[in-house]
């Protein structure tokens, strides 16, 4: 019996690309709705960090009992090969050294494998699965238009599950439906009717086996999630399994796009956020075969939902409703490397040094300050000598990543190197003390002001000589969003 889901978190980026913008630029119809777009300073690792922070945000009262002992990260678009990305997430979460961290990189199917493995490991000790995807495609293509970026994280443990896994089944098959050569930004797909024909019976088989393993009647299912990058096959499976469609989880792809590997995770989180205790959830994922899980929510679901609200971790539906939809298509193309733009006449940024990064990992990744034990002054970055009372080596570390702050002053830097100029510089005074000067992101330069409330977010500041320079930036808490006018379509599409 694997563990159940104790806590979850999702992350949908601030930016949306209006599909009409593609059509207007390229002169061809691109449909309606929006897709999520990771900002220029995000990659799958940083998306994963944000989702994982939200999954762990509500566990303050658990006294460390739920500290993950394993972290499994899965993405089809890893920031690094030959270097573990899960260790970056591990460091950004400030997890103990004894917590293991592994990548499950590859196809969307690996994401299910990571969650399943976390469930198996979770029966013995809390394990965190983090799933992220960032999908680009070629300009004007279906993948660019229909896909999206996002992440989901699930904390799995044997006790206190908000949703127990009561049945699980897989069906595997070797066939060529979607593929991509490493290094390419776009995947290719075989003629889709072929894939549909293969997927539907595989999904039905996995579903049937999972229901049988759970020992429940099919009509006991309250919520059904079917996801996968093969939209036609997903639609067919929904029709085959969903009956009248009333149990089908909302299809969010019109507003956020198909999140690829993260799709089933975000959809499941969305269901958990609206489900009630004692309900049955079936999740079916189509990815080079099919996987299915049957979950039963418990009384702990209410507690988990409340903890999520208390930690101010936004729900999927809240995130879907927010977001900036005025991203110019040219900016999207620039961020994704599809449009090479003239850089400012400034030197390229320096590659950060491995020893220096390692020495300061608690700061650089964990955003941990030092607080003076003598006078209480909080230092960002951590220092050994107190700026206030000059005591030497009388410091204790203190994680600031989840503490909010207020903008003391700011500037708009039009000269600094950035993939998305201008750079917004802010001086942040943190609640409870401490000041830091950093970049602001996911903000409108015209709306930044003194007194603006900010939270910290983990970003890829730049990449130099193939080294990703990760660090924290400030983002406005009350996003200056223009809520999208397109509405969710319920049921199948």
């Amino acid at each position: 019996m694997p563990a159940g889901i104790v806590a979850w978190g999702t992350y949908l980026p601030y930016w949306r690309l209006d599909r009409k913008a593609i059509g207007l630029t390229l002169g061809s119809p691109a449909g309606r709705g929006t897709r999520t777009v990771a900002s220029y300073d995000q990659d799958t690792t940083t998306l994963g960090v944000e989702a994982a922070r939200r999954a762990l945000a509500g566990l303050g009262g658990a006294d460390g009992r739920l500290t993950p002992q394993s972290l499994l990260f899965s993405t089809p678009d890893p920031a690094y090969a030959d270097k573990t990305n899960a260790t970056t997430i591990h460091a950004a979460l400030g997890l103990p050294q004894a917590t293991s961290a592994y990548d499950f990189n590859g196809s969307a199917r690996s994401a299910w494998g990571a969650l399943h493995a976390a469930g198996v490991l979770g029966a013995a000790q809390p394990s965190l699965a983090v799933i992220a995807d960032l999908r680009t495609g070629l300009a004007g293509g279906a993948e660019e238009r229909e896909s999206g970026d996002g992440a989901a994280a699930f904390l799995m443990a044997g006790d206190g599950a908000a949703a127990e896994i009561i049945g699980h089944a897989s069906s595997s098959a070797e066939f060529l439906d979607r593929w991509r050569v490493p290094g390419d930004t776009d995947s290719r797909q075989w003629e889709e009717r072929f894939g549909e024909g293969v997927y539907v019976p595989l999904a039905e088989a996995a579903f049937t086996d999972a229901v049988k393993a759970a020992g429940i009647p099919v009509d006991a299912i309250d919520h059904l999630v079917v996801s996968g990058l093969h939209a036609r096959a997903v639609k067919a499976v929904k029709l085959a399994l969903g009956g009248d469609g009333a149990k089908l989880a909302p299809d969010l792809t019109l507003l956020i796009g198909n999140l690829g590997a993260a799709q089933f995770g975000v959809a499941l989180a969305d269901v958990l956020e609206r489900a009630e205790p004692g309900q049955i959830i079936a999740v079916v994922s189509l990815a080079d075969g099919a996987d299915a899980a049957i979950l039963r929510t418990t009384d702990a679901l209410t507690t988990a939902q409340a903890a999520q609200r208390a930690a101010a971790a936004p729900t999927v539906s809240e995130q879907v409703a927010e977001g900036r939809t005025d991203l110019p298509y040219a900016t999207f193309l620039t961020w994704r490397g599809q449009l090479r733009r003239e850089p400012p006449r400034r030197p390229d940024p320096d590659r950060p040094g491995a020893p220096a990064m390692h020495r300061s990992d608690a700061w650089k990744y964990g955003f941990s300050a030092s607080r003076c034990l003598v006078c209480g002054f909080r230092h960002l970055p951590p220092t050994r000598v107190c700026v206030e009372c000059k005591s030497i080596d009388q410091m204790e570390p203190e994680r600031i990543a989840d503490i909010q702050g207020t903008v003391a002053t700011f500037t708009i830097d039009r000269l600094a190197f950035s993939l998305s100029p201008p750079v917004i510089g802010v001086i942040v005074d943190f609640d409870g003390g401490g000041r830091f000067r950093c970049e602001a992101t996911d903000a409108d330069p015209a709306k930044v002001q003194i007194g603006m409330r900010v939270a910290m977010t983990f970003r890829r500041v730049y990449t130099a000589d193939g080294v990703h320079n990760y660090f924290w930036k400030a983002r406005p808490i009350t996003a200056d969003v223009n809520t999208t006018e397109v509405h969710t379509t319920e049921g199948s599409n």
Binding site: P347, W363, I412, S418, R435, I450, F471
Partner: protein, 401 residues
């Protein structure tokens, strides 16, 4: 423990200053040679009579060989110093101390920077290997934090603040327009300055100092020897240098309307020189106008205006060349650009000309010719608001009573 200073123990007996410009036809070696040649000619001594050298450059060369090589020095001590934008002033300060100590009879302080060869906009430089967490903000962005903070604190509205900053740039360009050594020798209209493209925050292109190449040099000896070289030496009254704890960016009590380092170095310098009321006693000041809000804040930090009033004084013309206290009568960094290692010595060069009555009539300052004032101040700061180094010197045309 005290900062005692070396008032009237050493004097400048010769100076040189190249034009500050885009010297596409001159390298670092040429600029150093030009400045050294002019300085030695000014003092009337051969290079071989100089006992020791202090070379200031931030990034145009490493080690004393950067100077000893091109000047073919005969196995003399050459110390290369770097201290951000105060680099040239640091070379001068240390040369003065060496002479005051009695270790050498005659020393040269020389500064140089060849910025235009980089091919980039603004300042560049090599930095130590870091963990990548330093803010990526440029210098204009770092200094642009001053303007909204000052305006907010003293109730100056945004448009008025822009007018104040604009007038500082206008004044310095106006001064530079009549100075043949300046990089920019044209007056610039208030409209042009005010409407220039934004670089950072409220700062437009014309709120930023230029980028140029240049070199300047001073020859220093003990006061008792000074009249062997010149009838009118420039006496060193005060030398102060402060490196701050870089607390501003991490201390919420710092409000970005002052440079504590400047306040401290000015207090020290005034104590050394015996100055009580700088605005009344100084004939002129050459200050570090890297960006227009810097000059605004410096007027208060250096004690030229009460807190919260410098913006009114700027608009009233108090610091114009014909004002109560001329500030940057040579045109400042605004007109000269800022070849880092040379700037501090270029400021001294203006004191050298003005206080000794050698500035051409069209730009002579009345505080000297009519007011009879004898003292000049130079100031540099390097770094950014809240985390900088600051240098203040006071020089004078007569020994103190």
């Amino acid at each position: 423990m005290a900062s005692r200073g070396i008032r009237d123990r050493v004097a400048i007996v010769g100076m040189g200053c190249t034009p500050f410009a885009e010297h596409w036809d001159k390298g670092t070696d040429d600029l150093l040679t030009d400045a050294a040649k002019e300085a030695t000619a000014s003092a009337g001594i051969p290079l071989s009579d100089i006992d020791a050298f202090w070379l200031g450059t931030m990034a145009s060369g490493l080690s004393g060989i950067t100077l000893s090589g091109p000047l073919k020095l005969d196995y003399k001590p050459v110390t290369r110093v770097e201290n951000f934008c105060a680099t040239g002033s640091e070379a001068f300060r240390n040369a003065c101390y060496a002479v005051a100590s009695g270790a050498y009879d005659v020393a040269m302080a020389i500064g140089v920077e060849k910025l235009k060869d980089s091919g980039y906009s603004g300042l560049t430089g090599t930095r130590p290997v870091t963990d990548g967490t330093d803010p990526q903000l440029t210098a204009p962005a770092s200094f642009s934090f001053l303007a909204p903070a000052y305006a907010n604190k003293y109730g100056v509205d945004t448009d008025e603040m822009k007018d104040v900053l604009t007038r500082i740039a206008w004044k310095n360009h106006r001064n530079g327009a009549v100075n043949p050594r300046a990089q920019f020798r044209k007056e610039v209209s208030l409209e042009t300055i005010k409407n220039s493209p934004l670089v950072a925050g409220q700062l437009g292109v014309f709120d930023c100092s230029g980028v140029s190449d240049g070199s300047a040099a001073a020859i220093i000896c003990r006061v008792e020897d000074a009249h062997r070289y010149t009838d009118n030496p420039l006496y060193v009254k005060a030398l102060s240098f402060v490196a701050g704890p870089a607390a501003g960016p991490i201390d919420p009590s710092y409000d970005y309307t002052s440079f504590v380092e400047v306040v401290r170095s000015a207090e020290d310098a005034y104590a050394q020189a015996g100055i009580v009321d700088p605005r009344a006693e100084l004939a002129m000041a050459e200050v570090h106008d890297c960006f227009t809000p810097t000059e605004l804040v410096l007027m208060e930090d250096l004690g030229f205006a009460e807190r919260g009033t410098a913006w009114k004084e700027v608009l009233a013309g108090t610091f114009d060349r014909d004002g109560e206290l001329p500030v940057n009568p040579d045109g400042g960094l605004k007109s000269f650009g800022h070849p880092i290692g040379a700037s501090g010595l270029r400021m001294l060069f203006e004191c050298w000309l003005q206080l000794r009555g050698q500035a051409p009539p069209e730009r002579q300052i009345a505080t000297v010719t009519e007011g009879g004032r004898k003292l000049g101040l130079t100031h540099n700061l390097g770094g950014a608001p809240g985390e900088c180094v600051s240098f203040v010197s006071v020089v004078g045309s007569e020994p103190s009573a």
